[in-house]
Subunit: 321 residues, 2 copies
Amino acid sequence: MKESEIIKKLVKTFDYTDRSIIEGPGDDCAVIDLGDKKNFYIFTVDDLVENTHFLMDYLKPSEVASRLVRMNVSDIYSMGDAVPIYCLVSSGINDKKIDNEWLADFIKALKKELDFFGVKNIGGNISKSETVFFTLSLCGKVSKKGITRRCGAKAEDILCCVGNMGDVKAAVETMLSKKRDFFTSDEKKLFGSFVKPRIYKDYASCISKYASSMLDNSDGLYRSLEIISEVNSVRVKLDINSLSFVASKSLKRWSVLNHKDFKEYVISGGEDYNLIFTVPEKNINKLKSDIKDVHIIGRLENGYGVDISEYEGKIHYFEHF
Amino acid sequence: MKESEIIKKLVKTFDYTDRSIIEGPGDDCAVIDLGDKKNFYIFTVDDLVENTHFLMDYLKPSEVASRLVRMNVSDIYSMGDAVPIYCLVSSGINDKKIDNEWLADFIKALKKELDFFGVKNIGGNISKSETVFFTLSLCGKVSKKGITRRCGAKAEDILCCVGNMGDVKAAVETMLSKKRDFFTSDEKKLFGSFVKPRIYKDYASCISKYASSMLDNSDGLYRSLEIISEVNSVRVKLDINSLSFVASKSLKRWSVLNHKDFKEYVISGGEDYNLIFTVPEKNINKLKSDIKDVHIIGRLENGYGVDISEYEGKIHYFEHF
């Protein structure tokens, strides 16, 4: 079974009809009403697994920590006017691969990253494991007025994003082909997007004032657009020419040097953790005056599916699993 | 670093002074005040890792599911008048080891176990991993009046427990020495304590009315008593003769057949998930009239450390890591 099939099987098996569960699986976070007047509580979990998400001898412990925290808090901020609050850290440790120095550096960096996002550690677990893994469970809150879910978009809404896309796909290919000592300055920047992705924590709350739906782009742009289409029963038209503005300069220069089409990286990349959202046309000018670096990348229409008809390149699905 | 050293390092690094954090690491659950008048929210995480906690070709998927759920909800109930409510399930899956049938059986059993304890799944994560692992994060609540922590015990309190101890250590040794097809009826019962430990969910709330402190026995009796001593600055005197009543009949028969001392299994076992608690003397008769199968196994005294001076056998520390 693929990840998506397993999730379908889980959703079919479990019962999400409890009144306190505003949203179960299917959005970036589970949304729970614990009776607080102003806020919902939100929950998410994600992990970094050796040889699937990172190579032990390639990343520094501080880089594993920053990626672990950022990929997780991204899910919290993508819920709109939201903040992460508490975390539990669970880990599978192999003492042949992780020594005391590695662990001390990891813990130090974890503390720094959690502090940066205002997250308080409240506990965790350590197990012995041949494969090294780290699991971060987060609890946060989102204001009931400022929640921005994947659903809520309508035909005629404007498709927007903040942040670059495609960098991580290029970084992963680079890591698989050479040692980091030989990185060009552009490759160093792409690698930086992988180990310490920029999280739009100061944007999400502002975006939530204007947006009709939002998600983080962890599954890649094409899959993100499919999700918007599926959840909202709309057709999503992507403006291919706009992708020049959402690709970083480093990705564009790297693509030229490596005879690649940067648009393929933007469309089929994954784990970029920027924000994709939809905005009713009447709000777009207010949003643009508040956030200068928002990109308009398309529009929603009546219908179904994703329209990238102007694009002639390849589409790959990014699969986490 | 050992597990205990890593936890000390983590506790030293992180800051648990936030007013909402009633208890960080150091108890069975983290205890958080989210502003509810009557209840605290409690959080715990634990995982099952292949080759550390279970062997893929030894356990059925339903057994992995039952053990995963029970070892986790045990931490919730050991907080006293508490119930588990929500869970996130994270997993590392290896498709060479886990096929669709295995996964379907696991999900079915997981649902059944979660339903039994009233836990609602609200999401999760699936990653590819060479080593199979499952991580369960739980959120529950405990009444502010009925919370029973590890601290709170005083000299002269009576040391009590419910449930058997030592079964799991005997089960693990049996699993390592023979295939399950060759289990005797006693070995089947011991194995049952491993894959589907009894959880004292209907006892915990009642015990909380009388107890001064409580913990689940996941680290083994000797370590549990050390914890009571350390946290409460008391000396814990164990009545060795009482151990005859807390060892199961299966363990006692198995010990005779295998030339073992059952007391060693009770004292040095681990992962039994029964409840250990302390009760002020004035409450003991009321407790015994409410719960018939409570065992008195010792007493707290002024001083420090664990007194098992009547015991001449070995003491092993149970190490999860």
